[in-house]
Symmetry: C2
Subunit: 335 residues, 2 copies
């Protein structure tokens, strides 16, 4: 019971290293594999002036222009928000759906957008006036077919509804954004944090059609994001050579992790270049075992067989994961 | 007309040095006196880990606890927001008033909280279910009497309304926050940016009673502010000796600026330790003259006789202001 309670806290969000250190009384150098955040951060320079002065309107335009060039979206409809998680919640407040649906397994922020969304397990629009989904999916990494998604967008548009596509994990794949399609009634969310390894900066984007885009800008005011977010984000989105290198690094390490997990008798059932999802008989036991080796992973409240495992920062981290897995209780998942 | 258009952009917000540099073709080292932001910033240290990792829930609690100790508020009801400007807009969306009023001269963010607030020039609650005001006032520095405000809070509470007090400029005065009164139906906003000289960090607080506080927390999610905002804000609010020194510095410089303006034939009609408000016959002419000397001040769209002048950073800045004022067109305001 104490173990179940201890694990519950880690099924809410990843990244809770402070909590893990206390819960498992392991005071070692933890490896955080509980998030989909890249361990290789974009080299961010902070100019003290960015902290002192009010963010400049021209700087905000430059940021949104640089980001829109990566997404293939219209800069005027590409709105910087203080984290895509807040972006989701504000979109929920502004879009005002009556019968919203979340494509499962959904991210907690998708469920928090509306008071009582319905979970669906397929791309259904019938009976709903809003559909929220992650693309790639989290934690399964599933990429919903683009053409089917276009059909859903048009169905939702026809009844004044909304298609909301959360592309928080899309950058590592390098596929063009759904925002580039310019479908009607489609809202896309992007995040700096995961791919650029800068989750603490709190920078995301909402790409939305004109009437909603204007309402969101009014709700955010003239300083939607911090000075450092503007400077760092503008540099990061403009630096396409670094992005290409990051994609190579992430794809390579994700392949190594997946191979390692499979060799250790775990079943990889999905993932992206940011994380691998495995199934095992008792994910809680595996989570606890790894935590006792100062490796934090991500269990799920709605599935006791799944564990999501992020990218270690280097060969040493990979070796520590391999070593911990040698004594791990990898029971077979139920078939 | 071109001059009027050029000035209009600076009546929206202060701090637009980039715009000023272009508009007045003055490529010198500008002195920014257009905001109420202290020129002496709290010495902020940025830990790269704050940029990389998701902000820790325990860190957020520590920040809100340190800030609440300064405000005299309940930490559970003291909610960190990514800038008090966004805080105002979110409060507007959540509080849902039908007949809101703004005590003039109001800040642009107060007007943006609701679609059509009424401007009032006294502390009236009759006919309104929400009243927003700045304390101290901006730009006049007026401090609404605490006892009268308490009466207004109870009147608004009796009809399920809201009293909203924006204390963005309150820190420099050192007076206890209205939040310490724990009045019913009262929402208080605080800002890190002005007093601590860290407007680019985007950190503010909404102090609100339980039902609204909970709704605001749900709308913001688990990462309402950035990692640097948490680290810097926690240190700044806990550092009461620095705050005392800052109050002395700001009060001293504000007195020097006010004396200088009066000696130059301008009429100080209000202000705080963050800025001085003067009246003159043609504020646009004075604004333009100072801009041509690379000194940015703050004109107002709703009053052609007023100019707000912030704190120069040092004796050299004060001397540049004095020198520019010697050739300025200080016409007497209409009586």
């Amino acid at each position: 019971m104490a173990a179940a309670r201890a694990i519950a806290a880690f099924t809410v969000h990843g990244g809770r290293i402070g909590l893990a250190r206390a819960a498992f009384a392991v005071d070692a150098d933890w490896i955080d594999l509980s998030t989909g955040i890249s361990p290789w951060a974009y080299p961010a320079r902070i100019d003290p002036a960015d902290l002192h002065q009010l963010p400049d309107p021209a700087g905000l335009v430059a940021l949104e222009t640089a980001a829109a060039a990566v997404f293939g979206s219209d800069p005027a409809q590409t709105i910087a928000v203080p984290g895509s998680d807040i972006g989701l919640r504000l979109v929920g407040a502004l879009a005002g759906a009556q019968r919203p649906a979340v494509l499962g397994p959904g991210y907690s922020g998708h469920l928090a957008m509306w008071s009582a969304p319905q979970m669906v397990d397929a791309l259904v629009t019938a009976g709903h006036d809003a559909l929220v989904l992650a693309r790639p999916g989290n934690p399964d990494g599933m990429i919903v077919d683009r053409q089917q998604l276009g059909v859903a967008a048009r169905e939702l548009a026809a009844k004044d509804g909304w298609l909301i596509v959360d592309e928080a994990y899309a950058d590592a794949g390098g596929e063009p954004s759904i925002a580039a399609e310019r479908w009607p009634a489609t809202i896309v969310l992007r995040s700096l944090g995961k791919f650029f390894g800068l989750a603490g900066v709190r920078l995301g984007f909402v790409i939305a059609p004109p009437p909603l885009a204007g309402r969101l800008r009014r709700m955010l005011g003239d300083w939607p994001v911090s000075g450092p977010a503007i400077t760092i984000g503008t540099a990061a989105y403009a630096d396409t050579p670094w992005q290409a290198g990051q994609r190579t690094r992430m794809t390579g390490m994700a392949a190594e992790v997946t191979a390692l997990l499979a060799a250790a008798g775990l079943t990889p059932v999905g993932g992206t270049s940011c994380f691998t999802l495995v199934e095992t008989g008792d994910a809680a036991a595996l989570f606890t075992h790894l935590a006792e080796h100062a490796i934090l992973t991500r269990p799920f409240a709605d599935n006791p067989h799944r564990l999501r495992i992020g990218l270690p920062p280097d060969a040493q981290g990979l070796a520590r994961l391999a070593s911990a897995l040698q004594t791990a209780p990898q029971s077979r998942p139920p078939t």
